[in-house]
Structures are given as C-alpha cells and as structure tokens.
Symmetry: C2
Subunit: 142 residues, 2 copies
Amino acid sequence: MIKLGMLDEHIGFHLRLAQDVSFRAYARQAGAPHLKPGRFAAMTVIKNNPGISQIALGRAISRDKSTITPMVRELVSLGLVERVPSTIDRRSMTLTLTSAGDAMLDDLARAAEAHDRRLDEVVGDQKAVLIELLKKIEDALV
Amino acid sequence: MIKLGMLDEHIGFHLRLAQDVSFRAYARQAGAPHLKPGRFAAMTVIKNNPGISQIALGRAISRDKSTITPMVRELVSLGLVERVPSTIDRRSMTLTLTSAGDAMLDDLARAAEAHDRRLDEVVGDQKAVLIELLKKIEDALV
DNA sequence: TATTGTTATACTCTATAACTATA
DNA sequence: TATAGTTATAGAGTATAACAATA
C-alpha cells in the first residue's frame, strides 16, 4: 500500500487528484460525442454570451488569445461556431453557435450531466456545500 | 459580465476551475523553488515509500511507465533521487530520495504549505468536509 | 499608443507501441 | 507468457513574441 505522507492533508493536492479522477471518468464515459474538454467550456461560454469576441472568450476561460485562435478555427471548421467580423470594431470577431453547435452542446451537456449525476451521488446531500467551497476557492485565488 | 449557463451547477466543472485557479496561484507564489508540479507528487511518494519501483510509482500517481522514465531521469540528474537496480528482481529499479532530494522536498513542502494555508483560510472550518468530499470522489471514480 | 487577432515557435505532459531483459 | 523499464514518436494544451490591422 502506497503512503502519501503530508500531502494527504493538503486541499491543493486533493483538488488535483479529484479533478484528475473526475476528468478521466468523464472521458471514459463520454466516448461517443467526441470533442476535446476545453471546447465544451468555450462553447458554453459562446452559447451564453452570443457575439462574444475571441479576447473576451479567452478571458472567460483563462486562456491566451493565441490559444483561442486555433480552438475557434477548429470549432468553425466543424460547423459548430460562426465567426463574423464585428461591425463596430473592425479588429474584432463575434462568435455565435450555429444550430449544429447548439445541438452538439446539448449532446455534450447530456454526457456531462450523466457524469455529474455520478458525482452527485458520490457527494450526496453535500453537493451545495462542495460547490460553495470550490467557488470560494475560485474567487479568492484569482 | 460573462455568463456560464448550466455549467454553473456542475461539480466537474467547478472541480476543474478550482484546481486551475489553485494551481496558477501556487505557481505564481512558489516562484523560487522551481520543480514541475508532477515532480512534487513523485518525490513525496518516493519519500514515503523508499525503495519503490518505477512501475509502482507510476501506479501511485496514475501515470504510464513511459511517463515515469524521463521524470525519474530528470530527478536523478538533478541529484534529487537515487536509482539502484533491485537485487531481488533484476528488471526492477529501486528509488529513494537523496539528502538533497529530501531538503528540496522540504522546501517544496513549505511552499505548498504556504499555498495550502491560503486555501485553508478560504474554506475555513469546512476544510475537513471539503477534503472528505474530494476523497470520496477520488475513491468512487477510480 | 493600445488592442484584436494571427502566426511561428517551443515547451510540457501525456500515452501507445515496439523493444530488451528478465521473471 | 507476463512484467520492468526504455525508446521513438505523436498528439494535446499551452504560452511568448513579433506582427498587421484597427482603435
């Protein structure tokens, strides 16, 4: 049996471990509707903020603009996102989901929800507490 | 203001976000005693399980053996880990920390602890609850 | 001068598969 | 046959820096 030593008391360590395990379980389960993990977050942000610029998208998901460029290009080439030059700022692009993108996001949401139902089961009636604590961490450390 | 939509209710999503934020904060703060994140976990496992094989190390931190090889080589070349052929199984290597490795791990532990004290502050008296929930997730989803 | 987005480039982390040497 | 470890290789994900166009 492997011992973990002092790490066992560390929130940061368990955050990493739990995220790792959770993501692997999701990837195993999702299987079919394949789209890389970052894409899901990006598409969700676009859906909820139609017309958003690439820069703003990058800020929303904490990625550099140079990371956003190929990501958006891929989503556009898959027919999931539409990319139109802004009329008010000609440097800027406006992003929206296509109807295919919307449908795909629904599929992904279903897979994510199935996964999250498992997580819900695991944490039981403590879900609200857990999410509240995680949000606190997100807000405090930015 | 960016809206997140349904994701906001998902444990998996907040796990990812909180881990991301936490890791970035740690990286910012750690600054000086530079060693990549996976190394910390590896060295901790070696410290607490002296003589462990590479395969067992890989299992402990959920990495393939081909990921372990260059990782161990780096730690050896930095003088932090000693790597000795096993006398009982000649295919196998035994790993232990050098005294420099032990000292380095102490430094890293201090940085990690400083970071974790911030996390502790954020979650307050809910720390035990949070760790318990994260462990539940780790155990349930393997 | 500052910002949006692209490109070139590079680095890290990771795994798969084929291999060797042992078991 | 199976396991420990290495190597070659490839694919994600990410960022920095230099740049063009526009503000």
